[in-house]
């Protein structure tokens, strides 16, 4: 039996459980303590854990990410919240040059068990600088693990695994999905990093996606059902390491693949999945892999342009019709 939680509550429960379990876990970021979080993910945590472990920072992403890396190297388990991943770009030096490389450059001497987390992706009319996805950027970096998931139960299990992980983990959430509700088990559980979830089984086409695009993909799958096309929908949950087994096995059954990815198309997660599938399911494919991404542009403010930019069920259905040769 479970309970219904919002994504923000599930993440909070996951972090709080780990903080109760291990006193070396602390959370740090802008507005996480007294303001209860810019998006209220950390609501009430200051009250429970105190100012030693729930720490408001100045606006200084590079600095507090680096302080997190140092603390992790010296035995603590920091959770670093970025208000959004757009602002974490200032901290990429610490994430990519330091957290990701600590183990390698110390030849295994120093671990860097740190979680960097925050929302990624578009959230309405927030324009160019506040709408980007970072899964592809970070997924390209050896030494990092990358999670991107909006299902409340899975996000809770994954954040717990991330905090216990001995390697640096980047957790990508979603600003507009923090209120998204789902059933979460009562008892304690972990969700392993690196394993995808099949959200819907189907026989005619596989749709692979992650983060909030799962919502668009599920809507498309429902409509496709009405059109007589049975779509299997896979939620990656983890971007790095990629669960290619689940993807390849599904495509070997359906023989067709559409990848839906809010990231830009070039050199992205969708490109990697298309590679995996042509490499390991080539003989099964009945059609070229088709991907549905955000437009290969910066995202402007006007509502008409936001609508044109993002993947949606219509675009996904069109892609499915093309791989099933139902285009007129």
């Amino acid at each position: 039996m479970g309970k219904v939680l919002q994504l923000r509550e599930a993440l909070r429960e996951g972090m709080a459980e780990e903080m109760r379990r291990d006193e070396n876990v602390f959370i740090m970021g802008e507005e996480v303590a007294e303001y209860n979080g810019a998006y209220k993910v950390t609501k009430g945590m200051l009250d429970e854990f105190g100012a030693k472990r729930v720490i408001d920072t100045p606006i200084a992403e590079l600095g507090f990410a680096g302080i997190g890396v140092g603390a992790a190297m010296n035995g603590l388990r920091p959770v670093i919240e970025f208000m959004t991943w757009n602002f974490a770009v200032l901290a990429f030096d610490q994430i990519v040059n330091n957290a990701a490389k600590t183990l390698s450059q110390s030849a295994g001497d120093f671990k860097c068990p740190i979680v960097f987390r925050g929302p990624s992706g578009s959230a309405g009319q927030l324009a160019q600088q506040h709408s980007q996805t970072f899964e592809s950027w970070l997924g390209n970096t050896p030494g990092l693990k990358v999670i991107s998931c909006i299902d409340p139960a899975d996000a809770k299990g994954l954040i717990k695994s991330a905090i216990r992980d001995d390697d640096p983990v980047c957790m990508m959430e979603s600003e507009i999905m923090y209120g998204y509700k789902g059933e979460v088990p009562e008892d304690e559980y972990l969700v392993p990093i690196g394993v995808a979830a099949v959200r819907r089984t189907g026989t005619d086409v596989t749709i692979v996606t992650f983060n909030k695009m799962i919502i668009e993909a599920m809507k498309a799958a429902e409509e496709l059902e009405g059109m007589g096309i049975s779509a299997e929908v896979i939620d990656l949950r983890t971007i790095r390491p990629l669960d290619h087994k689940t993807i390849v096995e599904s495509v070997r059954e359906t023989d067709r693949l559409v990848v839906v990815d809010e990231s830009w198309p070039l050199y992205g997660v969708s490109a990697e999945i298309a590679y995996e599938v042509q490499r390991y399911a080539f003989d099964y494919l009945d059609a070229p892999v088709v991907r549905v991404n955000s437009a290969d542009t910066s995202l402007p403010y006007a509502p008409t342009l936001v609508a044109g930019y993002l993947p949606n069920p219509e675009k996904i259905i069109e892609a499915v019709r093309s791989v099933t040769y139902q285009n007129t």
């Binding site: 606006i59 403010y301 044109g308």
Partner: protein, 348 residues
């Protein structure tokens, strides 16, 4: 310290005593006009947001109008300005029209940036206004670079580089201050210290709460300024500009102000007390300058009424214009991403 002594006499103004205006009548009227225009623009924007005509983030300038007014009157036409996302007032101060600014907030093709930027990103090359920047603190080195280009080209212009108290805690400030001073760049750094960065009081972000002191570590002339009065801002900027134009390098002004509304429309502002807000409301820059003008006897209520009526009509017109303008055509998604017009964007 001209501004300081003026300030004392202003605050001690009694009902009947007449205080001569410290600057020309025209100067006061132009300050007032700009401040009132910004105030009414922002109020109209908040209303339109409630009607869902404006979406996304909306950070208004209400309470900080005296800074835009005082600053603009002390600059010369070739000077540049760059700031953060709380920038409608700055852009209007530069000369962007309320029509094109309102249309931008509405996301319309007639906006100052064709509806592509929205509330955080107004830009205008015509007015040497470099935006409108959404990443906190990023404009500090960029403004330094704009000043670098002025020096490189041998002009007499400077770049006003504006940022908030929250932004002052970014490391980039130190890198920019250091290079700006080392290379004697013509940059005026302006920290609009409205005491809060979202829900975080400036007192919680550093051991050093007088932000102007950050300049002193680089031997940069640095001062604190009353930002609720256009007179004090004008004096401070004028003095700093003389210093900068003489080739001596940057100057830093920490301008103390207050934002009357929440950080953005979604922020209820529970982190500050009602008393605190009230005490600042009593120093409302628009009301204060009104009082200075009327107390002088040199400006009549009727003159102010005329300005108010004209501006209210202007803002009404701006909202109507924004409302009736078309959204950008869907193809506009693919324009302005590269200078090369035929850049092969991936369209599927």
């Amino acid at each position: 310290m001209v501004a300081e002594s003026k300030k004392k006499s202003d605050t001690s103004t009694k009902k009947n005593s007449k205080h001569k205006l410290a600057y020309s009548k025209e100067q006061y009227l132009s300050w007032y006009e700009l401040m009132f225009r910004i105030r009414k623009f922002e109020e109209a924007a908040l209303l339109a947001y409630n009607q869902q005509k404006i979406r996304g983030f909306l950070h208004v300038y209400i309470g900080q109008e005296a800074i835009a007014a005082g600053m603009e009157s002390a600059l010369i036409p070739g000077d540049a300005i760059i700031t953060g996302y709380r920038q409608h007032g700055t852009a209007i101060g530069r000369g962007c029209t309320t029509k094109e600014c309102m249309a931008e907030l509405f996301g319309k093709a007639t906006g100052v940036n064709k509806g592509k930027g929205g509330s955080m990103h107004f830009f205008s090359k015509e007015h040497k206004y470099f935006g409108g920047n959404g990443i906190v603190g990023a404009q500090i080195p960029i403004g330094t670079g704009i000043a670098f280009a002025e020096k490189y080209k041998g002009t007499n212009n400077l770049c006003v580089t504006m940022f908030g108290d929250g932004a002052a805690r970014q490391g980039a400030l130190h890198e920019a201050f250091n290079m700006g001073m080392t290379w004697k760049l013509p940059v005026l750094y302006v920290c609009e210290n409205n005491q809060y960065a979202m829900g975080t009081s400036v007192t919680r972000t550093s051991n050093v709460q007088d932000i102007y002191k950050l300049g002193l570590a680089y031997d940069m002339p640095s001062e604190q300024v009353d930002g609720m009065r256009p007179e004090s801002v004008y004096e401070a900027v004028k003095k700093a500009a003389v210093h900068i134009r003489s080739g001596k390098g940057p100057y830093f002004l920490e301008i103390k102000t207050y934002r009357y509304k929440g950080h953005s429309v979604s922020d209820p502002g529970h982190y500050r007390t009602r008393e605190e807000l009230k005490s600042y409301m009593e120093k409302d820059p628009v009301k204060m300058v009104e009082k200075v003008m009327l107390d002088s006897g040199e400006i009549t209520q009727e003159e102010l009424d005329n300005i108010q009526t004209a501006i209210k009509a202007e803002i009404k017109e701006a909202v109507k214009f924004a409302d009736e303008s078309p959204f950008p055509a869907p193809e506009e998604l693919y324009t302005d991403n590269y200078s090369q017009p035929d850049y092969p964007f991936m369209k599927d």
